[in-house]
């Protein structure tokens, strides 16, 4: 008994000491988990490859013949691939969580690291960091494709098209914003996956969030409602960050649009965090 009484304070001190280091340890553990399976690496590669491939294809297929006016936002066109790349980001984010649930690994994780908020935070930080890196590669490749190909297809400065390059302010905003966009999509998907747990249902919900809204909105006859809803749709609002022409006719300003997506991501993460905290595994 006396030994037990003596040992009691020791763990408390250890816990207190560990508290500062705990996020670092959790991060390290999550990093090990991500690093040691091949899936995430392939998916990150897929984000970059698919985005650049689709962007290049879109840019390559677009010509502006002489004596025609071409209502094209060259920067947005160069970033077309993001529309596809975000699907791969969503898969990566969903699998980060749902794979642990389907294999039962989550029980081990939470036994080893009982502070659930730290586990979720570590997952979010790592995922966001990786997606931002892959997204930066993807966006840079897409912008490079637009920069190299578009002037040869008639989109020259002489005809009033701005350069698709990072030295041009709006293009820099669109490019950096697109990277952030992918990061926010990852966080929103992660939040959904934590709530839903099952990978199939999670990916269904996330894809619906990404792709369904714009389709349904395009069918709504009432322009007032259409306009109002578009402002609050994660992808329609979020992707306004890519617009560099016709900014006045946008439903929402670019950074505010990205802010709307950030609200969606924050709401999903908050709901996910609460559910994760109070639910049995």
């Amino acid at each position: 008994m006396s030994t037990a009484v003596q040992t009691q304070p020791a763990p408390t001190i250890a816990t207190a000491a560990a508290r500062g280091a705990s996020l670092r340890h959790t991060l390290h553990a999550e990093w090990t988990k991500l690093r040691t399976v091949s899936g995430p690496a392939w998916l990150l590669l897929g984000v970059a490859a698919l985005t650049i491939a689709v962007s290049t294809a879109a840019v390559g297929a677009t010509h502006c013949p002489q004596n025609l006016t071409c209502p094209v936002d060259t920067t947005k066109l160069s970033l077309t691939g993001i529309q596809f790349g975000q699907a791969v980001v969503a898969i990566l984010a969903v699998l980060t969580v749902s794979n642990e649930y389907s294999s039962g690994m989550m029980r081990v994780t939470l036994a080893a690291m009982p502070r659930r908020q730290a586990v979720l935070a570590a997952k979010a930080i790592l995922l966001a960091a990786l997606v931002l890196v892959a997204g930066a590669v993807a966006v840079f490749g897409s912008v490079l494709a637009g920069h190299l190909i578009l002037p040869g297809h008639g989109f020259t400065a002489a005809r009033g098209f701005h350069p698709v390059w990072l030295s041009y302010g709006p293009t820099l905003r669109a490019a950096s914003g697109s990277v952030l966009y992918l990061g926010l999509i990852a966080l929103m998907s992660l939040g959904v996956a934590v709530i839903v747990r099952d990978s199939a249902v999670s990916i269904g919900v996330v894809l619906a969030l990404l792709y369904l809204f714009p389709i349904i909105l395009s069918f709504i006859g009432n322009e007032h409602w259409q306009h109002r809803l578009e402002r609050w749709t994660p992808t329609v609002a979020g992707l306004t960050i890519q617009d560099t022409t016709g900014l006045r006719s946008l439903v929402i300003t670019p950074w505010a649009g990205l802010g709307v997506l950030a609200i969606w991501a924050a709401a999903a993460m908050l709901a996910g965090g609460l559910v994760f905290r109070f639910r049995d595994v």
Partner: protein
């Protein structure tokens, strides 16, 4: 020990009999039991149907059309609609033009030479414009002047006409939907166009000529129910000018009112009892589509200078098509099926799980131990999920159209009607499309063994091409190409209105137009599903479970 030794062959015999004797039927039954005993999947399918219906009806009910006519009380819905003429074939048509006419009794021939076709249209770069102000010279693609034989001046009555057009040379058109090409090239004083229409009973024959001596027959048409006295004469009309002729932005639409002016000479009318005097009439108000009252009324100023006549008109003689070009708030039955995209995601999720879940739980080993013929297992799963998806889609499509379409009509939109056969094709085709998409997802689930990747591929390949095209993210040419080769081509099965080449319109999938014909588009998805099934079969046989 002996009893055991005896008992061993029995299960083996039963084992071998299973797939051969009870065979595929019992496999189907097994897969059906697997499906219906998972509550989540059944709920998923019910949810797919409910969401499809809800969204379709929501989108349909959301249109809100209001108007105020001549300072009267504000109205909404159906009360805002103008008189809508129907053509001889029952389709909704635009029938408004300037008409210099006289009656013709019995058989006869009208001949005229067109020496000039000019026009003006709203300046699209100069902000909003109206007829009379802000107009710049230019011709709409399908601006038309020429000669016409028409039952009466009533909108929608049967007719046949020979005309020169803005961009499409000489045409013979009849009864709104018929269109035959004649001499190519633009008309000018140096290159005039001679046009001739001959009536013989119900038969109208059209000719064109460059010199008035050598005539070429363009076409011949039977106009059933043509009365003995008809109206013949010269006409001029121009649909709204649009920039859809811009080769890049085939989907982007900007338009404004336009009018066309034709100069005629060598006008002659032979046969019957011509009265000799031309009466100017504006059929259908002559304004934009559907702007006028029912029967023709009002006089149109046309000038005569010796043997030369100048006639100016606006409007069109053509079927109404979806999109802003027609001037009417039109809908098609396919537009109340927007919810199908939601249903598709739900069905694809269930279908992909139907196979990939067996890998996660290790059930696949039990399944393949019980039924070692792997191809049959794959086929049974495809049949079961395809049938379930078909029934779900059928219910959803029938209710969506049954509830959504009346709501659209009540809100003041004009339904572009389709024949019963077309409606059946749209409804059954939608259900079949969902079924084949489910089979595609099952096959992807078997190939990838991971539901997330399988679902994403199935959803993105069907939804993204539509989205990119509908929202003008990619140029029109690329969008058309995507809707031809990707699984999204199957959405063409929902097209309920024919595409008329003689009407400038926005051929966006949101308006119900697809680049492939309905069955060809559906076949593309079937090919994708078949290819995925074949690959799944190969993988399933080669790989350990």
């Amino acid at each position: 020990m002996t009893t055991q030794a005896i008992s061993v062959p029995r299960p083996e015999a039963g084992f071998g009999d299973g797939p051969r004797g009870g065979g595929f039927g019992s496999l189907l039954r097994a897969e059906w039991i697997k499906f219906r005993s998972v509550r989540g999947w059944v709920i998923g399918m019910i949810l797919a149907a409910l969401l499809t219906i809800f969204l379709g009806v929501f989108a349909a009910a959301n249109a809100n059309i209001g108007c105020q006519i001549n300072g009267g009380p504000p109205k909404s819905g159906k009360a805002c609609l103008p008189y809508i003429p129907h053509g001889p074939g029952g389709e909704i048509v635009t029938d408004s033009f300037s008409f210099a006419r006289q009656p013709l009794t019995g058989n006869g021939t009208i001949t005229a030479r067109v020496t000039s076709l000019t026009g003006e249209h709203a300046d699209l770069n100069g902000g909003p414009a109206q007829v009379g102000s802000g107009m710049v010279p230019g011709l709409a693609e399908w601006a038309k002047v020429g000669i016409i034989i028409k039952q009466s001046t009533h909108q929608g009555s049967t007719y046949a006409a020979m005309m020169v057009t803005g961009r499409h040379g000489v045409r013979m058109q009849y009864n709104f939907t018929g269109d035959t090409a004649g001499m190519p090239g633009a008309v000018s004083a140096a290159h005039p166009r001679w046009l001739r229409l001959t009536r013989s009973g119900d038969t109208i024959t059209g000719y064109d000529s460059a010199d008035g001596t050598h005539w070429t027959q363009v076409g011949t048409v039977q106009l059933t129910g043509l009365p003995s006295t008809v109206q013949v004469g010269m006409f001029a009309a121009s649909p709204g000018y649009t920039v859809t002729q811009n080769s890049f932005g085939g989907n982007s639409f900007a338009g404004g009112p336009a009018q066309a002016t034709g100069v005629f000479d060598h006008v002659s009318l032979a046969g019957g009892a011509p009265s000799g005097a031309w009466t100017g009439t504006t059929v259908g108000g002559g304004g934009p589509a559907g702007a006028g009252p029912g029967p023709g009324g009002g006089s149109v100023p046309f000038t005569r200078n010796g043997g030369s006549y100048t006639l100016t008109g606006s409007g069109d003689i053509a079927p109404v098509t979806p999109g802003p070009g027609g001037g009417l708030p039109t809908v098609t039955i396919g537009q109340s099926l927007v919810g199908v995209f939601v249903g598709l995601i739900a069905i694809v999720v269930v279908a992909a799980m139907f196979f990939s879940t067996e890998y996660r739980r290790g059930l696949i080993r039990t399944t393949l131990a019980a039924a070692p013929r792997r191809g049959a297992v794959l086929a049974a799963k495809a049949v079961v999920i395809g049938a379930v998806a078909f029934v779900t889609g059928l219910v959803a499509a029938v209710v969506s159209i049954g509830v959504g379409v009346p709501k659209e009509e009540n809100s003041g939109q004009v339904l572009l009607t389709a024949s019963v056969l077309t409606e059946v094709r749209v409804i059954v085709g939608t259900a079949a499309m969902l079924a084949v998409a489910a089979v595609f997802a099952v096959a992807l689930g078997a190939i990838l063994r991971r539901s997330a990747a399988a679902i994403t591929i199935a959803v993105v390949t069907v939804v993204m091409p539509f989205l990119l095209t509908a929202l003008n993210v990619v140029p029109a040419g690329v969008g058309d190409w995507l809707l031809r080769v990707t699984p999204a081509a199957a959405l063409a099965i929902e097209q309920s209105v024919p595409r008329y080449s003689q009407v400038t319109t926005v051929t966006s999938p949101v308006r119900g137009y697809y680049p492939l014909s309905p069955y060809a588009g559906f076949a593309v998805l079937c090919l994708w599903a078949a290819a995925a099934l074949a690959l799944a079969l190969v993988m399933l046989r080669r790989r350990d479970a």
